[in-house]
Amino acid sequence: MELFIKQLTRKYQHQATRLLMMLREVQAQYFYIPSAAIEFLTTELDIPRTQIISVVEFYAFLSTEPQGQYDIFLSDSITDHLLGKQDLTKYLCHKLKTNLGTTRSDGLVSINNTSCTGLCEQGPAMLVNGYAIGELTQTRIDEIAGLIEQKIPLNDWPPALLKVDDNIQQQGLLLSTQLEKGAAMRAAWRRGIMETLAELETAGLRGRGGAGYLTAWKWKFCYESVEEDDICNTEVHTQHQRYVVCNADEGEPGTFKDRVLLNNYAHELIEGMTVCALITGARQGFIYLRGEYLHLYPKLLAVIEERRAANLLGENIFDEYIAFDVEVRLGLGAYICGEESALIESLEGKRGIPRNRPPYPVTSGYLNKPTVVNNVETFVAAAHIALHGGEWFAQYGTKKSKGTKILSISGDCARAGIYEYEFGVTVQQILDDCGAENVLGVQVGGPSGTFICNDEFNRKIAFEDLATGGSFIIFNESRSIFDIVQNFTHFFADESCGFCTPCRVGTSLLKKQYDKIHQGHGGAGDLVELQEIAKLIRTASHCGLGQTAAQPILTTLERYPELYQQQLQKIDFEPGFDLDSSLEIARKLSGRDDEHAHLAQVEDD
């Protein structure tokens, strides 16, 4: 093992910032992170073992306990549930003769749940040793179980099984054209740096992750930011390190448009990052790729190599001594790393804990240097703007939301997939296009967004109305609001990083309280309490995760108060302790499930 770790640390040049990349390989080699490996890494990287342990315990795809040689993570997003995930989970466990959440005694296979894996339109989905498999059916599970029992290496599995489709349904401004390699960079360089920045401002491009900050301003602040001791140094822009980071960690359940952009438009993405580097003076860029998209990693590396060979990346871009390169770093299963400062922490080889702000990343980001963090789609749009100009882009969309938005459409509809629309499109238009009927409601922007019901379909996709990072999940009238909200509420409790009290404790309290009502044990007081906890988490949490964790509850309570009332017991008080369900362990141990093995909470008269 010592030799393995020594080779590994050499491969990553003993850089502790690349700790996650190294731990990924340790996990793949031993199916867990042995404590001996932690000790060797401590020595080789000269960082405290506590930093390594805290990282191992933080990320979902690392484990301190041995996992199976085939390590399965089932995507547990609501979109997977809609497609029959729960029954398939039972079937899979039955086929492989093991239980969810455990490693089989022979060490061959382990099955766990994980949050949305980004195959929402081709679910139910799973990851096997990190690689995505979609469209699960009993037949496909039979095939997978067979391959595992025969110990066929994953590399030799039928490619059809591991194929991920793009499902582009509607192309617009960005998806319909692929730029000539280097064209946007050359246009920006010829036009001039400040002039290109002005074009970006004219375009009115706002961040596509959902928050909608003006991209031109972000880049400008990064360019202008000067470290305090260098204020007098006029050469500062050429001398100081800045970073360009692409947030390819789309973890919002129901979002998968970056998967498609990374698969087909990686040149445009890196072109956009390079334009950003020209403007800000950055020499190093990173693509922080979510671990669930491991299948895209080799492809991105190939694109980067191709661009280096063409002098579009590397030391001598345009032979003008402009240097910029891009490195891909993989995440390891943590929704919070989509938050830009948590992402930066993760890039530095640490737990993904959102930082205190100010300072913002544009002044103090990666390694405390000025850093631009933008979404994949933002960089792609920026590349197009650098080539075609701001006016061209600004003619599309609405006054406050320029250009187009790429939506990831999943759930109850005939044609799920990727749709690019001009901003300002109505929800009804989208529903018509994707063939959705008898719609109960739509979750716009994922769990952290808004649930809209069927009398709001005239609302528009735009920053001034329904802002979204791209997630658009459709529910038909056969679906239960309570099942949907419960899935989302559990998601936030699972993904809370635990840094601040309101989110750490609050999301778990909210989960318990919601389950109580969902199971039919809630009284009137419980609903009041639910709202109180929800509002507290929203106002008091440290970052966007906590501030939006109660959104599913608050937005559905607002729209369906009568449904919630019907869900309540007609008594004033219902104890939090459920006598019968607490006997479940005893029933399992004794193998009994007869009438006498159950107890009523209150004796019937």
Binding site: S35, E57, E495, G498, T501, R504, L509
Partner: protein
């Protein structure tokens, strides 16, 4: 000199100070647990949340800026702080009457100050490990509130790296930097600042617990707001 206003009271501040620094210097108490002026602010307990331009922010990390109108001692914020304190109580296992730290405990002191009469939320009954492996120091994780002060004190004051926080979400827990994970095998020593900085009874020096009788302890005599301002903690 620039000024901010807290609850209508005008107070001066110096460049680089946070809202908390300015408030403490002016004799205004803002409840807090993870903050200690000796160490880099953390901003995690969220007890010191104040309202600035209608939005909540942590006073201990937010920079003071000229002309800020800050709300702090309001019913709304004090209720919020009480609920957050109750969250800390139900998350861990806190039995004040049998705890060695009673009367000297900041968590207990803040709870009294905020008028907390019950735990309000259902208890988690978390399984937490006690580590008595060190001859001079005991670590009782049941009482840990993840303020991170021991980690910061060990790094910043003791130039060591004894403590860290691991785990995610509600499974967060305090870990010790030694091969066995035990305090007894770490390089902590009893005169480290990390041994005395804990605001609760999670880290205690052995043999000290009852030197001062209950009833004559810090917060038995004075409320936490007065103690905090007098001792600058």
């Amino acid at each position: 000199m620039p000024h901010i206003r807290i609850d209508g009271q005008q107070i001066p501040f110096e460049e680089g100070q946070t809202i908390m620094d300015a408030a403490m210097a002016a004799g205004i108490y803002i409840p807090h647990l993870c903050h200690n002026p000796e160490f880099t602010p953390h901003g995690s307990c969220k007890l010191c949340e104040v309202k600035l331009n209608g939005r909540n922010c942590s006073a201990c990390t937010f920079p003071a800026a000229d002309g800020q109108e800050v709300e702090s001692n309001t019913e709304e914020l004090n209720t919020l702080r009480k609920r957050i304190t109750q969250m800390l109580f139900v998350e861990g296992n806190h039995f004040c009457p049998s705890c060695e730290k009673t009367g000297n405990c900041q968590l207990q002191g803040v709870a009294y100050h905020l008028g907390m009469l019950d735990s309000h939320f259902p208890h988690f009954y978390a399984q937490r490990e006690v580590d008595a492996s060190h001859p001079d120091i005991v670590l009782d994780r049941n009482r840990c509130i993840f303020c991170d002060l021991c980690e910061r004190a060990s790094k910043e004051a003791d130039n060591k790296n004894v403590f860290a926080i691991a785990g995610r979400g509600i499974n967060k827990h305090l870990i010790v930097n030694s091969a066995s994970g035990k305090l007894g095998d770490s390089d902590i020593s009893v005169d480290d600042r990390a041994c005395t900085v804990c605001p609760t009874g999670a880290i205690l020096v052995k043999g000290e617990a009852y030197k001062i009788p209950i009833g004559e302890r810090v917060y038995d005599k004075q409320e936490i707001d007065i103690v905090s301002l007098e001792t600058d903690t």
